[in-house]
Point group: C2
Chain length 443, copies 2
């Protein structure tokens, strides 16, 4: 992984005019991004802790905690939480990802204090009552069951597991029926106490909000979280792998993947641009070649996801059995070609797409609040769109094609598939087609 701290936004850069940042005594960040023409606000607490922070015997506990946070506190029953926020037409929800857990609310502007009170209550004072836990474990088993019935969920879970074999970053976020059923209230409280520390937490609000008022509301309510940074998760190493599952389906879903770039890596933004011009829109190479010229798929796209110490680059496609022999070689040929030459028009278009996407996301308070929270967790401060665009402006077609020539050959590939998989090539066959040798075969 080629890291380069110079590409991490520097602490001295200027903030967008509408953004204000305060730090509580325990290190928790309060950030607001005011949009005074709105009647509403979006706010939430983002915690730098997710499934990859779990020990093996804790598999799934970050997500169980996220559910149990809504099951009653010393001040409110589960029903009180739902009724109080919906009485004012708001809603609260939460989500757990690999490196982050977030709890957020959408409310009208006058209900910001209520939303902050509820979010702080569920994070500070949850009871984790045993009877509620039993019921919620059963609810989560059903959530896992529904996910197993979705071929897309299954192929993405298997993909991540194969890419980061036997590591926390690869394990499915929801855990297994066995692990989820095994947790006690004490286990959940311990995970919270271990990972929900001030320096790992951001309260982010956007919309019609007042920074000073929010800081005042937050000061007392979030002061009990630990002031030391929480333990960092173990470093994760991309392994690559293969998970080809035969199942009676109309379409085979495949994900072809490679090691991507960490957030702080020199080539993080180049990898984002590469995934966009390969498979980010209707004009992208994969969409044009696979769907428009050949009619092989309804859905084909590329993605790049950064983590703190690694990344994943992938191509997802779904097709019927008869088209698979043509599909994979066509995708691999597109991956090969971006290593040869990239047009200035393609780079310009990818930049325009990212720029417009950033500008449009500024128009939504929920997008703003989430974006700034993640920036603070990753980079330690908000990053302006101008800074991001400067980074993109510095990219050249040569650097992109150079990255394209390396990215798909520097490490073994990952292949995950589900459905009619007779014609899905093995990991070794894919490596061979990309002109690289599998380490095992080389020994």
């Amino acid at each position: 992984m080629d890291s380069d701290s110079a590409t991490t936004p520097g602490a001295g850069a200027s903030l967008p005019r509408s953004v204000e940042v305060s730090i509580l005594k325990n290190g928790m960040t309060i950030v607001t991004d005011r949009m005074e023409h709105l009647e509403s606000a979006a706010l939430g607490v983002w915690v730098k802790a997710g499934s990859r922070d779990e020990h093996i015997q804790e598999h799934g506990i970050a997500h169980v905690l996220e559910h149990m946070a809504f099951k009653g506190t010393s001040n409110r029953t589960a029903q009180d939480i739902a009724v109080q926020i919906e009485n004012v037409g708001g809603d609260v929800n939460a989500s757990t990802s690999v490196e982050t857990t977030s709890y957020y609310a959408r409310i009208l502007k006058n209900d910001v204090p209520l939303a902050i009170d509820i979010l702080s209550d569920i994070l500070n004072n949850s009871l984790f009552d045993q009877q509620e836990l039993n019921r919620e474990q059963h609810v989560i088993l059903q959530e896992i069951g529904a996910s197993k019935d979705s071929p897309e969920d299954v192929v993405f879970d298997n993909f991540q597991q194969s890419a980061f074999y036997q590591q926390a970053l690869g394990r499915p976020i929801m855990g297994t029926p066995e692990t989820v059923s095994s947790f006690s209230a004490q286990d959940i409280q311990k995970y919270l106490t271990d990972h929900y520390h001030g320096p790992n937490m951001v309260l982010s609000a956007s919309g019609n909000v007042d920074h000073d008022a929010i800081v005042k509301l937050a000061e007392n309510r979030f002061s009990d979280f630990g002031a030391t940074p929480a333990r960092e998760p173990d470093t994760c190493v991309y392994t690559g792998g293969e998970a080809i599952v035969s199942k009676e389906l109309q379409e085979a879903q495949i994900i072809l993947g490679f090691e991507g770039r960490a957030y702080h890596a020199r080539d993080f933004y180049a990898s984002q641009v590469l995934s966009m011009l390969l498979g980010g829109g209707m004009s992208s190479r994969l969409f044009q070649e696979v769907r428009e010229k050949r009619g092989l798929c309804y859905s084909v796209y590329a993605f790049h996801q950064g983590f703190s110490d690694t990344g994943l680059f992938g191509v997802h496609a779904a097709t019927e059995d008869a088209d698979m022999p043509e599909l994979v070689p066509v995708i691999l040929e597109q991956l090969r070609q971006v290593g040869e030459e990239i047009g200035q028009d393609e780079l310009d278009r990818a930049r325009a797409q990212i720029r417009a996407g950033l500008m449009m996301s500024l128009e939504s308070p929920a997008s703003r609040a989430g974006q700034i929270a993640r920036q603070i967790l990753l980079f330690g401060r908000p990053v302006t769109n101008e800074e991001l665009m400067e980074r993109l402006q510095a990219l050249t077609v040569e650097r992109l094609s150079d990255l394209g020539a390396r990215l798909f050959r520097e490490n073994v590939p990952t292949i995950a598939a589900i459905g009619p998989v007779n014609h899905v090539p093995s990991q070794a066959e894919i490596a061979d087609r990309l002109g690289m040798q599998m380490p095992v075969a080389a020994q």
Copy 2:
């Protein structure tokens, strides 16, 4: 169906200040809703034509047309369309529903003329080239295949088919592999010519847009569409029905349904409120009873959908085989109870949720453009949030419980299920539990 034209917004009511409406000579409406603080715009063409306007031998053609509109015109290749809009960071997309087809773009403010030019070009000048059609038919077959692999898609398709048995409103929007493969370029052009008429079309734009400039751009570009109203689709009658499909899945998905209310019906808004307090949020009766008190499901919710001459009220839930014997009676008991008494707090909360939802949707140009376009197609003019809230304000708990007492007993139920369905009750058993007799059993 109890219709009452007095609940249809009157033509004399005032417009929101930011909204301007013009009508072209051929009857097409141009509506804009300016949000001058934005840097972007959302706009699109909404056509009052969808799958229910298809003759039986045209099943799926509305959706094929929507795809083929992006496959090349006399001015632009398919690739030109994609490249031109993405060069400026915009995107175009389209969707087909039962009664409406829409083509829309998200762009930065200076690119409004380009977006209008592209949308008018694809609707006026599409070539429906035979080779492109062959390829796109294959793409749509794969879209249908992927949908068949999604238990949720299948259960909703089966539900609609059973509720409106052997009628266009019940048929799956995407058609069947056989019908989709059968269409010629002439068939597609004929469906367009038959249904895309000025009086059935709205160009709606919101965001940083200028009404007069848009009208000027639209005038020449949309003047070739017919000036007579298109043929109205056949009246549809709710039949109710049963579609219980055994499949090896972790969870059984069920939809329990009833005849709902048409847009113009007296009880349309009451039905919307009833579905919200029954299963619209975390505080709703179904969520509280089914998930929070009993842990029977991860997902359970109610919905109400209006059409021009009928409606559908449904409850969707997913659960494992072992929980099904408890689940259905619990849902039916909740349906029975809303016919007895509804609390003022529940009505107030549902109103607050709808009001906040409306206010927040005003903050998104894409929501605004779509909402106003649909209002014009349904009611002939834009409807302000104040008017909508007045309608909700007029509702009483008595009227709602009275509706609740009728809605689930006035006609035979519909039941659709997929998965492990051993314990899913039949349509007759559900009718029996609701205290009504099936017409057939009564003979």
